[in-house]
Amino acid sequence: MTKATAGNKNLRLTLYVAGQSLNSSRARANLNQALERHGHEQIQPEIVDIYEHRERTLQDKVLLTPMLVLNTPSDRHTLVGDLSITEPLDLLLEYLGAS
């Protein structure tokens, strides 16, 4: 659960999951695969289990799970779902590599 670290320290990648539920497990696996595919193995996304951090669900507006959030100083990018649709994630990771 270390902070996501890319070239830029101001970027934060967080995956919110609901325990070991099917969608959440798939999302974790899909995210790891995609990070490898893009050569971002060094990036360790923050994984938040909402069952353990219930207070963060409202605070971070995580009502649908799983949810991947990339926070940049200027933007917040949100992907909802188990990341089985790879195109949005690929676009996000390309953006991450470029910055």
Partner: protein
């Protein structure tokens, strides 16, 4: 809040009162407590208002904390809109009523399958913290529509339902009734929940009608018919089945109220009963309003608060028109006893009007109500609903002990005796009918009492006469089975008058003749009497003379006798006499 039900036979669930006027009666207690209810309806049907009104009621009246989850509108907007209803939403803190903004984030991208676990985890935390007992999911269809297929949507709904049941929460889920094309049909939700309520809004000829119908209520009986509903200034009101108590005739209900027209009072055996419903029907211009005005003026003169609902004319028109027949409403308005409520019939559904009248009556504590004419409710677009509204108004007003006088227009080609357009005659205790009798080129107003419960009433038609001095009733004449009014009546009256005068003259003449004869005879009799008297006197005098002579004669003879026989007994006997 929790009311154990005994009647319905469901041992598990109590009822959760919504506090929505009429709905708790319709559902016979409210929503099933600790269960999930579904509230469906198209856009603008009042789902959100219904939901938040229910929560606000629970918080305010029963101190039951609640959570409102909104998927469609922002929590702030909902809060702001709800504030205008005056339920004190702004006074509730987050521990009493908590709003959860659950709108899908705008910048989000969908990347595969997802679920609502995040939301449920968040709610878990809040429910525990607040000790919430009720929860609303507003516009759940928004989030279900994001799911790929019906199976997933179904799975999420079942998950939600199970979550709610586990926590024994009373839940209200709202969703749009008809999903637009391409969206997942959400009908299955109806089967998953314990109670399903449908809100509807239809527009007929530019008049909007709202209704509410309970589709299902597991393990309990309920009123299945749709009921009219309005969204008023203080929230939703459902035209519920009012508590109809058996008509108890309180002492005041045998009290007679003046109709404002003396002879009409006589026709009705003293006037209208207090607390009764009076119907006045008639074609246009038959003076229905005038009779109503006479009644309300009389009511105000008894110092009773009265309400005149005028669908046809404005207040100033009404005052002016009635002033011309000697009914002075202005004075009563100025005294604060009379309120004239001028309503334009097309400006709302019959339900809206009903509600406005009810709130006016409540705030004014009205004892006498006139609705002139109730038939105005039957405008295009209102016809299917007007009767119910009118009936409920009369029922409601009577249940408050108010005396209700309603007028109703009857169009000429409809037979008056068959019934009024609104069929109100059945709810009226007294029914007066006004009619024009057309005869010999003129129209005259006739009034008759068609029905008057509990009263021996006149079966006679009377002519109604309006003049500057007021309203009067005149007897009518019948000739060859026809009722005569106006000029014909006048003629008839004149003829009768002439006949009477002629007879009076004849009588006077005859009287004089008789008196003269009498005097003659008396005179003759006096003469005869005098003659008789004279003769009698003469006879008497003759008698007297004769007696005297006899006496003298006998004395003379006795004198002679005593002289002749002094010592005889006969002479002594005579002395003894």
């Amino acid at each position: 809040m929790l009311e154990t039900r005994t009647k319905c036979g469901d041992p598990i669930a109590g009822r959760f009162r919504t506090g929505i006027a009429g709905f708790d009666e319709l559902s016979r207690g409210g929503l099933p407590s600790g269960r999930t209810s579904l509230l469906s309806g198209g856009p603008g049907c009042g789902k959100t208002v219904f939901a938040i009104q229910t929560l606000a009621h629970a918080v305010r009246e029963h101190n039951e904390p609640g959570i409102f989850v909104t998927f469609e509108e922002s929590a702030n907007r909902i809060r702001k809109n709800a504030e205008s209803f005056g339920w004190g939403i702004c006074e509730f803190d987050d521990d009493a009523l908590f709003f959860v903004d659950a709108q899908p984030p705008q910048e989000w991208v969908q990347a595969g399958k997802f679920d609502l676990e995040g939301l449920l985890a968040a709610l878990d935390a809040r429910v525990e913290q607040m000790g919430a007992s009720c929860i609303v999911f507003d516009a759940l269809d928004i989030v279900l529509d994001l799911l790929d297929n019906p199976a997933e949507a179904r799975a999420q709904v079942h998950r939600l339902n199970a979550w709610l049941m586990q926590r024994n929460l009373t839940a209200l889920i709202t969703h749009k009734a008809r999903s637009s094309a391409g969206h997942i049909p959400l009908d299955f939700m109806e089967f998953a929940v314990d109670c399903s309520v449908h809100l509807d809004k239809i527009v007929v000829n530019n008049v909007s009608h709202r209704s509410v119908q309970i589709h299902k209520m597991r393990g309990c009986s309920f009123d299945e018919n749709p009921a009219s509903m309005v969204i008023a200034a203080d929230g939703i009101r459902v035209a519920g089945p009012y508590n109809r108590q058996p008509p108890e005739l309180a002492s005041e209900h045998i009290e007679r109220l003046g109709t404002g027209i003396e002879r009409l009072d006589h026709m009705l055996g003293g006037g209208y009963f207090r607390g009764s419903g009076v119907l006045i029907t008639g074609s246009p211009g038959t003076a229905k309003t005038t009779l109503a005005g006479a009644f309300i003026e009389a009511a105000c003169q008894r110092n009773e608060s009265s309400l005149f609902v005028s669908f046809d004319s404005r207040e100033d028109e009404l005052v002016r028109n009635l002033d011309s027949v000697g009914i002075d409403l202005r004075t009563q308005i100025d005294r604060g006893l009379l309120t004239v409520m001028a309503v334009r019939a097309h400006e709302g559904s019959s339900e809206t009007h009903l509600l406005a009248i009810q709130s006016a009556m409540t705030s004014l504590n009205t004892r006498n109500l006139v609705v002139d004419p109730i038939s105005a409710l039957v405008r295009p677009g209102n016809a299917p609903y007007a009767h119910g509204a009118a009936e409920r108004l009369v029922d409601w007003a009577k249940s408050r002990g108010a005396t209700v006088l309603i007028t109703s227009l009857i169009v000429k080609d409809k037979t008056a005796m068959e019934g009024t357009p609104l069929q109100i005659s059945t709810m009226a205790d007294s029914w007066l009918h006004l009619d024009f009798a057309e005869h010999s080129g003129e129209r005259n107003r006739g009034i008759s009492v068609l029905k008057s419960r509990g009263t021996g009433h006149s079966n006679q038609v009377r002519e109604l006469i309006l003049s500057d001095d007021g309203i009067g009733l005149a007897d009518v004449f019948t000739a060859d089975g026809e009722v005569l009014m106006g000029a014909m009546r006048y003629q008839k009256e004149r003829a009768r008058q002439a006949e009477l005068e002629k007879r009076a003259v004849e009588t006077r003449t005859r009287q004089r003749q008789v008196e003269a004869e009498l005097r003659n005879l008396e005179a003759s009799r006096n003469a005869v009497d005098a003659e008789l008297e004279a003769l009698r006197l003469e006879r008497d005098s003759i008698e007297a003379t004769k007696e005297h002579e006899d006496h003298i004669d006998s004395t003379t003879r006795a004198g002679i006798g005593s002289i002749r026989d002094k010592d005889s007994g006969a002479g002594r006997d005579t002395d003894d006499d």
